[in-house]
Symmetry: C2
Subunit: 422 residues, 2 copies
Amino acid sequence: MEVDAATIMNTLGRQARAAAKAMRMANTRSKDEALVLAAAVMRREMNEILAANALDMKAADENGLDDAMKDRLMLNGDRIEAMADGLEQIAALPDPVGAIDGLRYRPSGIQVGHMRVPLGVIGIIYESRPNVTADAAGLCLKSGNAVILRGGSEAIHSNRAIAACLRRALVDKGLSQDAVQLVDSTDRALVGALLKSEQYVDVIIPRGGKSLIERVSAESRVPVIKHLDGICHVYIDAAANSEMALKIAVNAKTHRYGVCNAMETLLIHCDVAVEVVQVIVQAMLDKGVEVRGCDVTRQRCNGMDVKLASEEDWATEYLAPVLSVRIVDSLDAAVDHIATYSSDHTETIVTEDYEAGSRFLREVDSSSVMWNASTRFADGFEYGLGAEIGISTDRLHVRGPVGLEGLTTQKWIVYGHGEVRG
Amino acid sequence: MEVDAATIMNTLGRQARAAAKAMRMANTRSKDEALVLAAAVMRREMNEILAANALDMKAADENGLDDAMKDRLMLNGDRIEAMADGLEQIAALPDPVGAIDGLRYRPSGIQVGHMRVPLGVIGIIYESRPNVTADAAGLCLKSGNAVILRGGSEAIHSNRAIAACLRRALVDKGLSQDAVQLVDSTDRALVGALLKSEQYVDVIIPRGGKSLIERVSAESRVPVIKHLDGICHVYIDAAANSEMALKIAVNAKTHRYGVCNAMETLLIHCDVAVEVVQVIVQAMLDKGVEVRGCDVTRQRCNGMDVKLASEEDWATEYLAPVLSVRIVDSLDAAVDHIATYSSDHTETIVTEDYEAGSRFLREVDSSSVMWNASTRFADGFEYGLGAEIGISTDRLHVRGPVGLEGLTTQKWIVYGHGEVRG
């Protein structure tokens, strides 16, 4: 079986390499027209996509998938329309490929700068949401890459139908359909083979739960762009505006619970008035959030329903209406707590103090660091990337929300006039 | 033994992490003063460094190292002075850390941008040249990183003496001496342990021969910044200025033979006049370069000493006075040859034709692509980086000559005024 998986993946990989070479040189208009056409095909073929999805939903019932999984898997007219919209939005974004910057003359006479170029072949490994098929392929195409998609086996019929729309549009616009390839099998050995395809694949982007990301990180010979956890912190400084602190803390925790940029731990400077702490904790309780505090927090919230936080709480991404709260003695203690427990995703300080805010921005080493704003803004759309293929908490290549630019790299270009060295 | 290596490396790793945290926040003046002081200490301790080097040279004699290796290993007053100079030059470069760019307002009211930050802990694995100890440590310190140095066992005494100068300067300027740590053992298992230290090391940069780089790439669990080969091409287009073509080809091949940015293969468009081909080939022969040509090249150089190139020649980095020459039918054929055989290091086109030059710059996918300039310019100093820690032919993070910026990453920063989402 392992041999078969490797053979299948080699074929996909060779085809992807050839397609990547062509996509790299495809002009902006062809790429944009193919994306707009793919959206149109998707709308036209809505019934076929829904029929394919019905097969997946039927299998999901038979296999006893839970309601949350079935909701992620389920397509309807609105969701297909949203995918088509997404492709049109990607088409409308500026093309990152070929952009030249930093050109400057050197004493030798040569002019040196950078040209932005596609990464090459991108592997996407994802779970049940079929919309990733369209979103990820759209971003990869726009940025001039070829993509190998490996979706969850529970979504195979839906993914096949969606990928077919994209491939049809590519061919129609004179581009290679192999720029979008779906691993059309549910054999799990194929994931392993994809992770070993360093010859054909330039980067793997896993999208899904923590166990998927951990497996991909541990096994992959191909570089991975990923984030594992989103243990995000809000720190309310001694010099915080208390109304703003309340508003940001409530938004960061309760706007949506299951997202990676939601707050999981609230840090509060010990000089913040007891009444302010109580108002914030009460607001959380009123929203139905379970609050787990340190000893000091519980003292200050005497009579309120605050459970005792354990060491484990500081290191937990709840993704649920649960919040840990810790009172700290200083900005240094807040920065230390974050350095120890943060997943390097997003942290924010609430303060009116210039020194505290500047220090927090500099000293906290996460992929997004904010001052007087909700952690919920850590998002490709909110940052102006237009779209997002994921969030990286890695240090190399790209950090934070990853848009089209993160799917490209740069090469040096030199304009000369016959200069030689010597 | 393996257990011991892991234990030693964990200690070094923990110390490096702690030092990296401090270095990340060190101000520009402390870092620059430490670098300048390290240069002064190195000059003051010149006799001690020379004595240490004498031990290495004695062992080299006993172990029968060849003259080329001994030359790389040998230190004298000039070479120590050059290392000290290098540290002062690094001190004089602008500090990349903390630079903020791209700040822009978003419709939500938040202001979003990037802040440049150090990578963290950098592992350098290198061979016999002791100057790498000073150069690499200097670049890592300036960019706010901690470094773990693993030099060749044949240079252990020299490396120890040089690292001691750097560590003394760090302490004197109130910085952590553990920002520069030398793996002070010749046990080869330590290289393996370093390559598995993903918990403590953010990136490995190998400097040395191809077999070292291959081993590091194959074994490392830590991301690697590297290049394997430098199979660089010069393509003389039909519309080349023939004098310029001669000058660039000769410089690219003969300025220095053993360097990665030297030309290994010369591609010539079939419409280039036979006399021009002959003049170029004769110039190479006059310089003592062995020329290996395709059939057409040999026909056009009838009567000249041109050997027949084999398939293997196109894929060989000679690093020697040997050149392969191929006549191609078109720009497309040149681009295809490069795509097939290039090591993605550096390629140049010689042409006065706008269309040909623009297409070459866009279509060739190497880390440096040039127009009318010698491949020898692919170098951190020539590009204006001030110094270079290596050259990357990888696609992720950094490509081409790597200077201070390549040793850093970016985090997103957000300035808000109480904005929340929703």
